[in-house]
Symmetry: C2
Subunit: 294 residues, 2 copies
């Protein structure tokens, strides 16, 4: 089985005001998700604020996590604006113990499909690690056409894609991707509120913010969906609905920090200019957690 399967848990990366990663605290957060037997750790994803951290801090984070994960696969986000910087980050990640890479088409000048193809193939050629395409238009504002995904899937070590939830029917989206991409190419989704259903529909992977901060709850939903238990999936989604609403309204990153604060898992704040949630929204987060008996 591909290492891109099941629940991939994306923790926050605690850092101080100057962007220095608290590697002890990060290790605690990584141990928490590994204790819950998640299928992989997604370090330095969007929730892990990779875009806001320097190369040196990202390497420190990977080294710290790799000491903790044991047999749990460690997938590391290596996105950056410049192709040469991504290649450096990929080399650092491999040298520091990553098992796989997650690569978003980070952009400032909007990229063409050809530019993304050239970027991904250059990075893939620079590493031995398998790569997951991080298709996240909400942050990168890049849209992968199906022809581009097919070209990328033909690159030997590009092995998976992390898709956003589609605007339309997820079953149709997944069926079209399955019909267009190699049989062994792993197809997963992010957007926690739709990912139980995505697994139930046959997606390989849930790339999860919830999994990084409430891994037991995310694992329970994952296993219910993987077992094909639609009723249990629906019931667990219903219990999580107050959190899903907060994720959609305020961004899952800000809510993940609020959860971590409430559970005394960190005192770190998101990197400025991102602000912590105000007290009214925090109270809603606490109420949502109370209903989950967290």
């Amino acid at each position: 089985m591909s290492l891109f399967h099941g629940l991939s848990a994306f923790p926050i990366t605690p850092s101080d005001d100057a962007g220095i990663v608290d590697t002890d605290n990060l290790g605690q957060l990584v141990a928490r998700v590994c204790d819950a037997k998640v299928d992989s750790v997604g370090l330095l994803g969007s929730t892990g604020t990779y875009a806001y951290l320097t190369r040196a801090q990202r390497q420190r984070a990977v080294a710290a996590a790799s000491e903790i994960v044991g047999d749990t696969p460690l997938i590391v986000g290596v996105g950056a604006l410049r192709t040469d910087d991504v290649i450096d980050l990929a080399k650092d990640a491999q040298a520091s113990g990553a098992d796989a890479l997650l690569l978003a088409p980070v952009s400032y000048t909007p990229l063409t499909q050809e530019e993304a193809l050239t970027h991904y193939t250059a990075v893939a050629a620079s590493t031995d690690l398998p790569i997951c395409i991080y298709n996240n238009p909400g942050t990168t504002h890049f849209n992968f056409g199906l022809p581009l995904l097919q070209q990328l899937a033909a690159v030997p070590n590009i092995a998976a894609v992390k898709m956003p939830l589609p605007a339309g029917d997820l079953g149709e989206d997944l069926a079209q991707l399955r019909a267009s991409l190699p049989a062994d190419f792993a197809i997963g989704y992010s957007g926690d509120w739709g990912c139980g259903d995505a697994l139930l529909t046959g997606a390989d992977t849930w790339y999860s913010v919830l999994g990084g901060i409430l891994p037991k709850q995310a694992m329970a939903l994952t296993r219910a969906a993987q077992a094909g238990d639609a009723d249990a999936t629906s019931a667990q989604n219903a219990a999580l609905e107050p959190l899903w609403a907060l994720f959609k309204e305020h961004g899952s990153l800000r809510v993940a920090y609020a959860i971590a604060h409430h559970l005394n898992l960190t005192t770190a704040l998101p990197p400025r200019p991102i602000l912590p949630l105000g007290s009214e929204v925090e109270a809603r987060v606490v109420a949502a957690l109370g209903a989950l008996e967290v």
Copy 2:
């Protein structure tokens, strides 16, 4: 008069494959625009690929340009993802000779209006220089609400805004901004194909890619529009229409590099993953220049 007026010319920043700025070549490009008597130089704008350059390279670029500009005001882009990094860049720019700063709300995690307000006020408090708000949703994907612009315009050293061309009527857009913002707050536009008309309609400033690479042509259009000569503005716009079409289709950054290559002004390429235009599009650029007798 505010230093934010007339034609602000945005040159490319020539750099090598590793992102090292060629300061001699940059100086030549800056001298070219100053020779054309532009009203200001917009260094390290989107066209100057500021987002792709390190702090050290950005400081080298500012220092090199400030030696060349003489009395022409030097406006320097200081956008970055992290607030602390922007503050460092603002201090560097001031120390290296900038006369004003241009600040875009660069984002990865989409920012709230409050986060942008906090970001701008923190940066404004860290510098003595006047700041122009760089409202560029095509690259930052942040949209400034009018209440936010009003809050920012109340900060003493936030003195100007660079607006994108509106989807609707420019005259209405400008009238609404004038009615909402202080009388001495400078309102300018970018999007070269609409900026002659913007000046004709009474905008203070044209923030111009064309001005950075074909400054004489941009100055002629600027002066015609500022004189209220609608016929001359229209005629010059018509002559530039083939270039405007290329800007819209391929991004003005890529076209600016192609123009610079054709005129033997640089051999530098845009930073990867951005690719130079293919030969077919380059031929269209050359044809467009031929019609202008450049």
